[in-house]
Assembly symmetry: C2
Homo-oligomer: 395 residues x 2
């Protein structure tokens, strides 16, 4: 991907002996265009507030990310420190602090210390190189067990354009470790408004479709940054065919990253796709999908490899959507196990359902029989390890 340099370092703010600070720079003084989608939690971390303000700037030069301390619930002092981090990066890059975005993940309620960030900053800028995305993906991890990267390429106006991103999970929030952070970069030349449009619609079909435990962190941030270095004619018309191509590439990367976050969900042993079809509208489809995907009884059944159609239809039934039980049909990997208000009888059905649940990837389809809208949610199971990770995190 052209027009970017990245670097990572171990600043030691909280972790010891591992990279915990990452920098993504646009490799041109003109900077790039950027867009962001942030947590809807009323408790918003200081770096999220800072990003919202700095995104007002027409040009963004860099994203600075630290792992270990989330700088959330830290009051005005937290904002001041987030700003100091942006200033340190700006000084080292000879760029305005207002052109630097900051993201943090880690313990809630602790102040970040800008001093080690400042100390590492010059070295970070000097060591920045193209195509070191894996270092960034590693430096932003908290309870994640694997780094998460994805990319796609597409031809636009005769130029090869790349969209690439990194993300971290892996519970939605924790104590308070784990937040959803994703940074998607592209060398496409694209107007901010167009980038913003595709980021928002892509988020709806990716990060807004996943759930590990239903919690939304104080720090959740999805940021897109475009360098324009691919040299394609600037994408200025959202509805234009090349803009749509770009949007599809961006969405593909977002969906892939989102799935990787779920697969690496805390304690997860299964990857589950909950597809709701036949809904009266997309909102209802989404409500049912997420109610099923977040039900602890459903999630423990997946962990136990128990093809428990009862828990799934019951979770759907309490989702607040005016279902008609007689019209609902449930499928496991294409096999109908429930319809017309009762389970499909037969030992063979039970046997095949059980076998579907023994696989690592499970597809559940629930047809509400009411309309034509649909929604797919991605989730994971609830295991002993989920409880273990989250019961003993801080000790």
């Amino acid at each position: 991907m052209q027009g970017f340099k990245t670097a990572a370092a171990a600043c030691g703010m909280r972790y010891r002996g591992r990279p915990d600070l990452a920098l993504i720079m646009v490799d041109s003084e003109a900077g790039g265009t950027a867009a962001g989608v942030f947590t809807t939690n009323r408790f918003t971390a200081a770096p999220v507030e800072l990003c919202k303000n700095h995104l007002e700037s027409p040009s963004i030069r860099a994203i600075l990310i630290n792992a270990g301390i989330a700088n959330a619930c830290t009051g005005e002092e937290g904002y001041r420190r987030a700003l100091e981090m942006a200033r340190a990066a700006g000084e080292a890059m000879k760029a305005p602090a207002g052109s630097v975005l900051v993201a943090s993940t880690g313990v809630i309620g602790m102040q970040v210390d800008p001093e080690p960030v400042r100390r590492e900053m010059r070295g970070l800028v000097e060591s920045a190189r193209p195509d070191r995305w894996d270092e960034v993906a590693r430096a932003i991890m908290t309870t994640d067990t694997v780094p998460k990267m994805s990319s796609a390429t597409v031809e636009i106006g005769g130029r090869r354009v790349t969209v690439g991103g990194v993300a971290k999970g892996s519970g939605m929030i924790a104590p308070n470790m784990a937040t959803l952070l994703a940074f998607v970069c592209t060398d496409a030349a694209v107007e901010r408004r167009v980038l913003d449009h595709w980021l928002r619609s892509g988020a709806e079909r990716s990060f807004n479709c996943i759930t590990v435990d239903g919690d939304t962190s104080t720090n959740d941030s999805l940021i897109a940054l475009a360098s324009g270095a691919a040299g394609n004619p600037v994408l200025a018309d959202v509805a234009g065919p090349e803009s749509v191509l770009f949007g599809q590439a961006l969405e593909a990367v977002l969906v892939d990253l989102a799935k990787k976050v779920v697969i690496d969900g805390e304690g997860a042993t299964k990857f589950i796709e909950i597809e709701i079809v036949g809904a009266p509208d997309e909102r209802s489809a989404k409500t049912v999908a997420l109610t099923v995907a977040n039900s602890p009884l459903v999630k423990t059944a997946f962990f136990g490899e128990d093809a428990n159609w009862g828990r799934i239809v019951c979770a759907a039934g309490r989702a607040g959507v005016d279902l008609n039980p007689d019209r609902v049909a449930l499928y496991f990997d294409g096999l109908c196990v429930f319809r017309e208000g009762t389970p499909v009888p037969g030992a063979e059905v039970e046997e095949r359902a059980a076998s579907a649940f023994r696989r690592k990837d499970i597809k559940v389809r629930l047809d509400l029989g009411m309309g034509t809208a649909s929604f797919v949610a991605y989730t994971c199971d609830f295991s002993y390890d989920y409880v273990k990770i989250n019961a003993s995190y801080r000790s």
Copy 2:
């Protein structure tokens, strides 16, 4: 409690070697007044449908309850079989089938077999005795580890009136075992409309305040039955002082039973009270309370005895209520741990909070600083055993 007889038997419909069938009879041909509150799940079990229909009758003679099979998701055949159970009880008691209520708990999707019920029915009626509520409480258990009973007495019009009840939990639903069933009987003479009023308002402050895992079963039923045998002047005016006294006694029994259900929640090791105060209205208070009470991250923190204020404020922040983080204050057993957007500093605070979390009963108070409305939710923690019970239930 006057005017009732009860009995229990092992009919062997699904369990072996334990009582699984219970009968609560009003000991008079005139029967009693009754009221019910039922699941809001769109998948409603056949006995719930039957109860709704039979409650149209002005006089109720009995409640017949079976454990082991829930008769949910069983289509029209399920209703026919529930009705056969009511008929069997009616015949044995020489009462109309329409004066018998039926409740079932257990596996979803399986048909009940009315045959063993019919076989036991005459013996059940003949063996019925006053004051055998403990047998009823035991016969209706599924994953419950202890029988749940409660009672209260109050003087009305110079007569001693008793309200007594039994309940079972212990997940909200399961595979499908465990449903919330509660039967509250009283010897008060009370008009149906008055009984209905106090049952509904009492349910709001008891069973609608508890959550084990956020799931609402297909079978959840709360039924009140009044024999009138205490001989008090009939309670006919909801707003009258004696009606209010009666309502308070009923509510006390409901709250006590509801708390017992939570304490015996699947895998629970802690009993947690989540009190929201300073809310703009009761609906917002309830939304925040239940969002916190259902958060897996909050519940695993309780299990881990981790005084994790971060997870609690974050769950509150995502509840969809327009909070101002700077006005929120959080207390553990009366100790303020968070206010003005940041944690209260100090090793002493942390030490005392940690000690509060080591107790079996934990009180959490969250002041939203917005108004005067409040709500209290009761919940339990999420343990390894919750996962174990629910991952391996059917095997």
